[in-house]
Amino acid sequence: MSVPAIVVQDLVVDRGGRSVLRDLSCQVPAGQVTGLLGPSGSGKTTLLRCLVGVQRVRSGHVTVAGLPAGDRALRTRVGYVTQEPSVYADLSVRDNLRYFAVLAGTAQVARSVDETLVTVGLADRGGDRVGRLSGGEHARVSLACALVGAPDVFVLDEPTVGLDPVLRRDLWRLFHELADHGATVLVSSHVMDEAARCDRLLLLREGRLVADDTPAAIREATGTADLEEAFLRLAEGQEAEL
């Protein structure tokens, strides 16, 4: 395992009077694609929000590249894609990318925008208004707005939900390319069949980590080839413990 790019220590987060993350500790390495998996409501989004520094936390520490999460110096280095596409629906695809490129301090805005449009497969839709795109295209614009700044840490909240299988495969390929170039890529998903595409997995359930390992090691430890089944066994194990 390479140097951890993200380190979470004893993180506790309460939202709306209920504890969402309970004493969570984990590490995310650079140069790999790490999957954050768990059912809806398990605390995935809250954990990701902590990593980008927008979540108020009760206790614990989160560092990204050695700096406290949300630190000013991290703002050009971390690309965050929220679960709901957060881009301007009343602007064109290209105008959205251009704005986020400037925010990220990109030197050659026009070139980065063109390249990113190709990367996400929207090269012919640059002039279209985002509000007129399909749901999947809308989500890709949101992803593109993070890619255009060329950050070295990607925090992606369910970026492949609702996309067609070919596109999903292409995006996972892209995530691995980014990781191969040294980026830290953390991708959340509630779909277990995506787990197999990750180099490492963090399995989250009810605000607690039930596994933090490679898919192969998790399969081996639980004695099943199916990751969905593995998750079930780990969840049952967790319940027996409590």
Binding site: R15, G16, V52, G53, V54, Q55, R56, G70, R72, R75, T76, V78, Y80, T82, E84, P85, S86, V87, Y88, A89, D90, L91, D95, Y99, F100, V102, L103, A104, G105, R129, C145, G149
Partner: protein, 244 residues
């Protein structure tokens, strides 16, 4: 704060506005159309038109910019773009000044058209400088914008944001001296009108109407600018990087 990001933000807000042609048309046409209406409602009473017309010219941009900004900012909050922006290099001041530039320019166009029509065609008579009237009207627009940014933090839906208009704007309209001169009001109401910023827009307009002296006008403008800055400051407090 970075000039590049501030300007990019202003350009982005203007581009969003430009994409919404109907809103642009309404912003540019409605104040002028209302002035035309007022002119013919008052018909031969040109003295009243001179007086009320100029004051309304200061009030319209306040109302329209308040509405447009509170809804625009609410969308920014509910669509998740605000949270995303705050994870980037964008400083809160970049966002506030970017909005102020974009809506300030829009207000300048709106006020320019309304002034040209009111003075040129409708024959509104003004003793002081037209420049003062336009400056005050743009100040009034920025005041509406800054208050709109602030109250958007207390609305969770666009319905609520729109309902803040009567709550924040109408009391000021009643107390600003448009209907009854402020020194004829009950003491309590007079005090209230003293602390409401729109009163100083209307006072300034009344001064520009009757005199070329700039002393009192500068004072009124100073109060308006102070209130814009205070409202922007309050708006900045509502922009939180970390939320529960």
């Amino acid at each position: 704060m970075s000039p590049r990001i501030t300007l990019a933000t202003a350009a982005r807000v203007l581009r969003q506005l430009r994409g919404d042609r109907r809103t642009v048309a309404l912003l540019m046409v409605v104040p002028s159309a209302l002035m035309v209406l007022l002119r013919y409602v008052l018909d031969s009473d040109t003295q009243t038109f001179d007086q009320i017309g100029l004051q309304l010219l200061g009030i319209f941009p306040f109302v329209t910019m308040f509405l447009v900004t509170s809804v625009a900012m609410l969308r920014e909050r509910t669509s998740g773009t605000l949270e995303r922006l705050l994870t980037t290099r964008l400083a809160k001041l970049d966002l506030l000044v970017g909005y102020a530039l974009a809506f300030g320019l829009t207000a300048l166009a709106q006020v320019g058209i309304a002034t040209a029509i009111t003075m040129g065609w409708l024959g509104l008579h003004i003793v002081g400088g037209v420049g003062w009237a336009v400056t005050l009207a743009v100040g009034s627009a920025l005041l509406g914008m800054a208050l709109g940014l602030f109250v958007s933090a207390f609305a969770t839906t666009e319905f609520q944001a729109v309902q803040f208009m009567p709550a924040v704007v109408l009391p000021q309209l009643l107390l600003c001296g448009l209907l009854v001169p402020r020194d004829h009001m009950l003491d309590v109401l007079h005090w209230a009108s003293d602390v409401l910023p729109l009163s100083y827009v209307v006072d300034g307009m009344a001064r520009a109407q009757t005199s070329t002296a700039s002393g009192g006008l500068l004072g009124d403008l100073g109060v308006v600018v102070g209130c814009i800055l205070a409202a922007l400051g309050l708006g900045a407090v509502t922009l939180r990087r970390r939320t529960p």
